[in-house]
Symmetry: D2
Subunit: 351 residues, 4 copies
């Protein structure tokens, strides 16, 4: 299976470049007969789109979805559900000066090494814009998961060294960084605004909690539920690590501490993050991902050009000084895709 | 593709239970005409097998490989290379008392939830013994990678809160915990021995460094090299998290710190861990995984039985108080499988 | 892998309904750096499009391709090459009277059985219009194959009982039925025109000859080259059978007749059709497919409606009385996809 | 997915060479909790094994199956069910004289072209012996299909120009050629015996009828049920063509003849062979395959050796003068694999 396709029975294929004509996605394997409300998908798109606040890129993409196929009279037909998002606010000329140079932290160098050619405009296919396709597909998966009683929420827990202390779920969508602690959120916004002025950027951590997943999902040995969630998350460009449950803290725990003991009501702790042996336990699935600082900064940096000559580069364009708030809906989307796919695989196994 | 198969063009399928007749692996897509030396594979098997030292399980498995097909006159033929390891030191009766109870931290509960039936003997398919198949396959991949100039090494960097300070590569295989710092290794062994006496266990961290990977490997958008390495690692039962390069530390770094600047000699740092935009940069690929404390402990724990009744359980059997040293060759094996597969995918793309 | 995706390393995913907004295709795994000339693709589209002659459907679709992604400055980039064909001459209202009835020979009944819902307009996804996407993708594969020295030609050899006696390659595209014998072609056209007047249809046979394929393509055991060509051809709705080389005639041949003996110049016959043991021999790959009579006829037929009530139906709409001439470019396209994909798989194996 | 793996959710991977240590199969995705009776599988193995009668190869392989994993206390566990068949009656030295020459009709030449090396002993991986693995896996699928009410039967309808006139189902397993007409069967046996004396061989036709398949199976566009059956059948080395329902006869039929009209009781004919638009109709699935004359004959033939020098070859070894009777259980096995897999895919789609 080629690299732009993801999933087994609920399968998506994405296409499109940042400053090309459009980005989009084909979703195959959608349960037929399900009402698909365009507004429902659009809500998720709007959470990811740029230009939402002072801490996100000022690029104006309305990310209006167009469903091209796969529905009839408002319901899914089981045939490929395709969604296109036409690019509207393209400024490819803004990238002319990086045509022949490699921006540090960007995929400029690696794309050229891999393909021998590259579309340098706004990172082309390597742009975060590709994730818009994922959010559209994830919204369809989310709709199917709602019918199964599964819900999920992702949120920022740390930005630029500032950590959330509280978990107030209602606060998440009410602050521009999607942090779970409104006090921390205020400090995060201040930090990001200051960095933006300095032309710099910062990283953070996003946590995701999936509720209502039935026990028994996940396919040993290789397609373990955590393995596939890890792949899904690391396939998001800015994400450089993931941990489940107790995560890296497990390195200094004893077995007697880490093991989740059981009683008649279920598990008395959730250090495993809801997955044991690659299979869901029925407890909440909890994982955290680390989001690297945005690579596009206007601080001068050393680099080389395509001829190997050293130069200093200052990245222009319209960028997010911290990508965490916009990663949140992408993390949710990818999680939805994985979980929905595994429900279908489990149905196939047991049938 | 079902869950016991991994890879696209260099593809493995594993089978077998811990206390069944055998475990094994079918490797498909092996480059034909390559000399395969059984001793070469056996070296890797011996690094993973139990009974190597005071800090590993006393189970005696010689893990002698049998190549059943796919070679002719000492060379690979390009047809499926199959390897079987017959189980020899099985004591399924040791597990009779956990037949109807769920050991905390084990896949007992989740396997029963998923399949409705389970082979409880030594965790059946969920046993770490399944990784022996992976190490055998990984050795074949390692052989192919050597021809490409790729080498790799994994090692323990932390166990039970004790961290390595030095990196002495020659020391790694010379100490029983495969730590990269011999002083730390001594303390780790002491810690593990004390925990073993107390019937408890501990976790740790293993780092892997892959050298010589050409720039350009990795398939955007979903089959990014780090995404597939993450899946590969999280598919190892005991591993609960992964981070590349600077990893979780990136959460508190600035873009101007995290970006790897370039000069005429290459990258001046490697916070990306050798992968940008999902594609290898040519720098060393570096990642760390967290290994949870072994679930099998003889400390009494609360659990339930298959009827939902509460009980106290003490896990018997022969177990590793810290699995890090035996995870090391498994991490290397899985990394070899991913890298070799991506070399083949890149060859297909460019052809 | 879901059912609308085809191929392993040169992989396509198609979408779209006959009377929806568009049909299209995402092609993943395209060799980067290859010049793609839109006109080159359009030539193939024009060979398949309706309205070419008196023997094809009068529906007016210009089948103008739009490349949405995957090229930059006229060359492929290695990222998903997506092509959209907007539907223009839609008349969904022409299908209102078959909304609740099943047309004999059509997928109306089976789609409803499978999905529980269906887009009845012009057969929706089951329409031959879906093959336009395949022809677009096939043209890209054909371009890549030209660089390898592979060429191919398909042609009608039989329609409505009239068989070609001659093989005159230059005549194929010069007659409206794409027959390899111009005399037979004239009779075929007469036969089709008479049937069209009577509201009936007829079937035929299309042969394909692929030249220049290197020996060694095809992946035993299951992904044999003939097995994958067979799947590709039977995935075309109207095709109900395939035979390679001597084909069904082999049933009454002796081994001493059927075996292709070899001499210093190669094979002295080609009863195998260029494939032995699932692997190309280097001889021309030759196969024939049977095309069923078009299901859409205006002769009254017995059927039932969605409530199981018997009724008589007369199919309206704009249809081809014999689909052979339009199947020819689809057969070629699918053959190109299979061969190109296998070149890439072989490159991966040997690398 | 590499070439020795078949299926999506009921997936098999086969391995092993004709004169190596063993052949075998890993079956992944088996519904857990199903009783698997070794004797049930052995019955199918015995139908395929050599040495059954005067018209089959005298090689003595007992084809005793060994289940290595995937069952516990007589029931499937949902983990990989692996079956090994150790080779017992190997005579690799019988093939020494063909080590450097290409037998006409065999895969000797193509394997060497593909892989650069080959195991020449008894055709190695290209041997019909590989199909023993398929029959073992097919028996497991057959067991699952029985629970769904699906049954199937394959039988010879033509050998060496002699055609069956009657269809007497009870006669099939009662004659050595598995023909559906006992009178024709007698003549076929005589013909084969005469050819065997002359050192020659002949081809034939095998038909398969699958009963009880629910309407709605098959995945458009590419994974149509007939497309996947075609791939499955053409993946059997000796099979060179397939046709469904009316098959090639459709080339001279009218639409008004070929369309299967419907009434309140169902379809009034079955020219479609039980599949329309790639989806099962609920009628019997009927297809025919052509079996080429066995390539191994002792009639002298022209060929070349690995140096391209012309020579005359006489094939020794123990061979079947007509492979039809032994192809019958392989056809059934492959059909079972495809149908069972599609039941699981449909379950995933609708879930």
């Amino acid at each position: 299976m080629a690299g732009n396709t993801f999933g087994e029975r609920f399968q998506i294929t994405t296409f499109g470049e940042s400053h090309g004509e459009a980005v989009g996605v084909i979703i195959d394997g959608v349960t037929p007969g399900v009402e698909i409300d365009e507004a429902y998908i659009q809500v998720q798109m709007d959470r990811r789109k740029p230009g939402q606040s002072s801490v996100t890129s000022p690029r104006k993409e309305y990310d209006k979805i167009h469903i091209i196929s796969g529905t009839f009279e408002g319901k899914t037909t089981g045939t490929p559900l395709s969604i296109i998002l036409y690019n509207t606010d393209m400024r490819p000329e803004a990238y002319d000066d990086i045509k022949n140079s490699f921006r540090p932290g960007h995929a400029d160098f690696t794309y050229l090494q891999k393909y021998g050619v590259r579309d340098h405009r706004g990172s082309g296919r390597a742009s975060g814009r590709e994730t818009a396709s994922r959010v559209a597909a994830g919204a369809v998966a989310r709709k199917l998961l709602e019918r199964r009683g599964v819900s999920l929420v992702a949120y920022t827990t740390e930005i630029g060294g500032i950590k959330c202390r509280d978990f107030i779920e209602d606060a998440i969508e009410a602050n521009p960084v999607r942090a779970c602690d409104p006090d921390a959120a205020m400090k995060m916004v201040e930090k990001i605004e200051a960095l933006a002025l300095a032309g710099d950027s910062c990283g953070g951590i996003v946590e995701c909690r999936i509720r209502g997943v039935h026990p028994g999902l996940g396919e040993p040995a290789f397609d373990k539920l955590d393995a596939e969630l890890a792949k899904a998350m690391l396939s998001i460009g800015a994400i450089k690590g993931i941990e489940f449950g107790a995560g890296f803290a497990a390195a200094s725990m004893l077995g007697s501490e880490h093991n989740d003991q059981m009683n008649a009501d279920g598990f008395s702790s959730n250090h495993a993050g809801g997955i044991i042996g690659g299979i869901s336990t029925g407890a909440d699935i909890v994982f955290r991902v680390v989001v690297k600082p945005t690579s596009s900064i206007s601080v001068p940096q050393n680099t080389i050009n395509v001829n190997g000559e050293e130069k200093v580069i200052v990245t222009k364009g319209r960028h997010d000084p911290c990508i965490c708030p916009r990663v949140v809906p992408v993390v949710e989307a990818m999680a939805c895709l994985v979980i929905e796919d595994h429900y279908k695989r489990q149905a196939a196994l047991l049938y």
